[in-house]
């Protein structure tokens, strides 16, 4: 059985403009998603794509206009309270805990709301505090925590009652890379070692690429792609990218490069001391020697060449530029 089934979900919001008019905004447009048990599922999308709306519907904080949402077989629209017991809900750090309380007091409070008490609660608190590495500061007031520590305590609250499903809305936004990585690793560990299902929303594409089992890319409330990161890269952005640092560039290299058959895109930027950097996107590796030859012809020296496979970022940008097809259907991946 799937942990989550999201079937034909539509959600619109009515927004008052400054002139007193009402605008209808479609946040989700016939969205269908299935998330398997124990899966690390990432919802990607630009601002306003519908990521937070998806999470809030799953947390039964929002009612969809139409569609069906089930969580471990429970219809969350019919029995929201039952579904809430299955989830741990984590939002951005600054808005999820009481700053005037200590970390421990927050955990005791939310633990009591989850119906935990006594030894069970104390043990659970010790476990989650160890997991988020807050043992040294757990008895300090949250208002004195750094942003990363606040995010840690927010995650600890979400994990406290041992939920089957974790809903995490941009938990790494605004964190420094090290803390963000620690949080991602912790969440990944929960899926691999404890079998938790994680729905994770983010803008950070690298984290989605390396940690997700599957990724859904939302744009304008529609699912434009849904697959594993590797499959998406293979289908949507095959080929490679080259990053070349050149010294003493002569003439218009960019136009010469664009004439080479496999080169799809060239971005250029100036560096210090007559140096320039070129980023090339190539459909395949067949014309690499021509690219190098062209570069050698138009510069004094190639200082460095870095070759990369396409990333999820390339997929993301390509899909968002491509958007929805003419019939308004989500982008269909071609094999």
């Amino acid at each position: 059985m799937e942990a989550i089934e999201f079937t034909d979900v539509v959600k619109t919001f009515s927004v008052n403009t400054a002139k007193g008019r009402k605008n209808q905004i479609t946040a989700l447009d016939n969205v269908c998603l299935q998330v398997n048990r124990g899966e690390f599922f990432t919802v990607l999308g630009p601002n306003g794509a519908g990521k937070t709306t998806t999470i809030k519907i799953l947390a039964s904080l929002l009612l969809p206009d139409s569609g069906k949402v089930t969580m471990c077989g429970i219809d969350i629209l019919k029995d929201p309270y039952a579904s809430r017991k299955l989830i741990g809900f984590g939002v951005r750090a600054e808005r999820s805990v009481y700053w005037k309380l200590t970390g421990r007091q927050n955990l005791e409070y939310f633990g009591a709301l989850y119906g935990m008490h006594g030894k069970t609660l104390r043990k659970a608190i010790d476990e989650v505090v160890y997991m988020v590495d807050l043992e040294a500061r757990i008895d300090d007031y949250v208002e004195r925590y750094s942003t990363g520590m606040k995010q840690g305590i927010s995650l600890a609250v979400a994990l406290l009652h041992g939920p089957e499903i974790l809903l995490l809305d941009e938990p790494t936004t605004g964190l420094d890379p090290q803390i963000a990585r620690n949080i991602r690793q912790l969440v990944k560990k929960l899926t691999t070692e404890k079998g938790k299902t994680v729905i994770f929303t983010t803008h950070i594409l690298s984290e989605a690429q390396f940690f997700s089992d599957r990724v859904a890319i939302l744009n304008h409330g529609q699912v434009v792609a849904l697959d594993t990161p590797q499959n998406l890269i293979g289908k949507v952005a095959p080929g490679m990218s080259l990053e070349v640092n050149l010294l003493g560039v002569r003439g218009t290299v960019k136009s010469h490069l664009m004439n080479i058959p496999s080169v799809q895109e060239v971005l250029e930027g100036a560096l210090k001391d007559d140096r320039q950097v070129f980023r090339l996107r190539c459909a395949d590796e067949s014309n690499t020697h021509e690219v190098i030859g062209c570069l050698l012809k138009h510069c004094d020296r190639i200082e460095s060449i870095k070759k990369d496979k396409a990333s999820l970022e390339d997929v993301f940008i390509k899909l968002l530029n491509q958007g929805i097809d003419n019939e308004g259907n989500p982008y269909e991946l071609k094999n």
Partner: protein, 276 residues
């Protein structure tokens, strides 16, 4: 024996405990809050007593009545005003800080959150009232002739009634998105003028006396005055004030439930759990 406690009671206890911890974090502010009614209102009452004592002979029934009005006025106004303020703005603040969203993702209802807060806030106000009673006895020379059974009944119903009024106020604030005007109008004008706080509601002209009768605070003040000082009529308290208060409590309870459903449906439809 395996006792299974309704989770809602556990939730109420947890919420009340958290609010108390938050309030007790700053002991100086907390103590000042508890002593505030004495500091604010007692100088006025001394002044009023001094002015009127030149016109009324000391120890006469009129003088006792004057003292009782001054004292009950302080008690009811501070009790009501503080509770309305603390509970009324609670939901708005939770929504602004983002914690309303997290609480609702766990709790059955927003009413549970508000009632849990009410327990803590009313508990503190009762402590406050005990201090006021002592101040009234020692400083104003109020003679308490409390009928314990009546006092407990009146206090319990009054506490429920004011608590439910505050919950209703919390929802009205959310709907109207106002920041204290209603509170100022109510505690600054309506309650002191129409609710028999500073003078008997019977002295009001007839249209206003009807309005006065429809405000629960009028009945609370009358019943409390009788229960604490013995001024008034027992039959009137038992036949009019207490039944009216019970009706108000029931009515407010159902109105609040309705408001709760409207607010939650609105938030779940329009996504307004957070408001910056």
């Amino acid at each position: 024996m395996n006792l299974k406690i309704d989770t809602r009671f556990v939730h109420l206890g947890a919420i009340a405990n958290r609010v108390l911890i938050e309030k007790l974090r700053y002991p100086a502010g907390f103590c000042l809050g508890i002593l505030a009614p004495i500091i604010i209102y007692l100088p006025f009452s001394f002044l009023a007593r001094f002015i009127f004592s030149s016109q009324i002979s000391p120890g006469s029934p009129n003088e006792l009545m004057l003292r009782s009005y001054i004292f009950i006025g302080i008690l009811v106004l501070s009790f009501f005003g503080n509770i309305m303020n603390d509970i009324g703005f609670y939901l708005l603040n939770e929504r602004m800080h983002g914690t309303l969203l997290i609480n609702y993702s766990i709790l059955r209802s927003v009413n549970t959150l508000l009632r849990g807060v009410s327990i803590a806030v009313i508990g503190l106000q009762l402590l406050n009232s005990i201090l006021l009673l002592l101040a009234g006895y020692f400083l104003l020379g109020i003679v308490f002739k409390a009928d314990l059974l009546i006092l407990l009944t009146v206090s319990a119903i009054s506490v429920f009634c004011i608590g439910e009024m505050a919950v209703l106020y919390a929802y009205i604030i959310l709907f109207a998105n106002e920041r204290g005007t209603i509170h100022r109008i109510f505690t600054g004008t309506i309650v002191p003028l129409l609710c028999g706080i500073s003078f008997s509601a019977a002295l009001l002209p007839s249209p206003l006396s009807i309005v006065s009768f429809l405000i629960p605070i009028t009945h609370i003040a009358t019943a409390l005055r009788y229960a604490l000082t013995g001024i008034g009529e027992l039959s009137s308290v038992l036949k009019v004030n207490l039944p009216c208060l019970v009706c108000f409590v029931l009515l407010l309870f159902f109105v609040n439930q309705r408001f709760h459903d409207i607010v939650v449906t609105r938030f779940r439809t329009h996504g307004k759990w957070e408001h910056y």
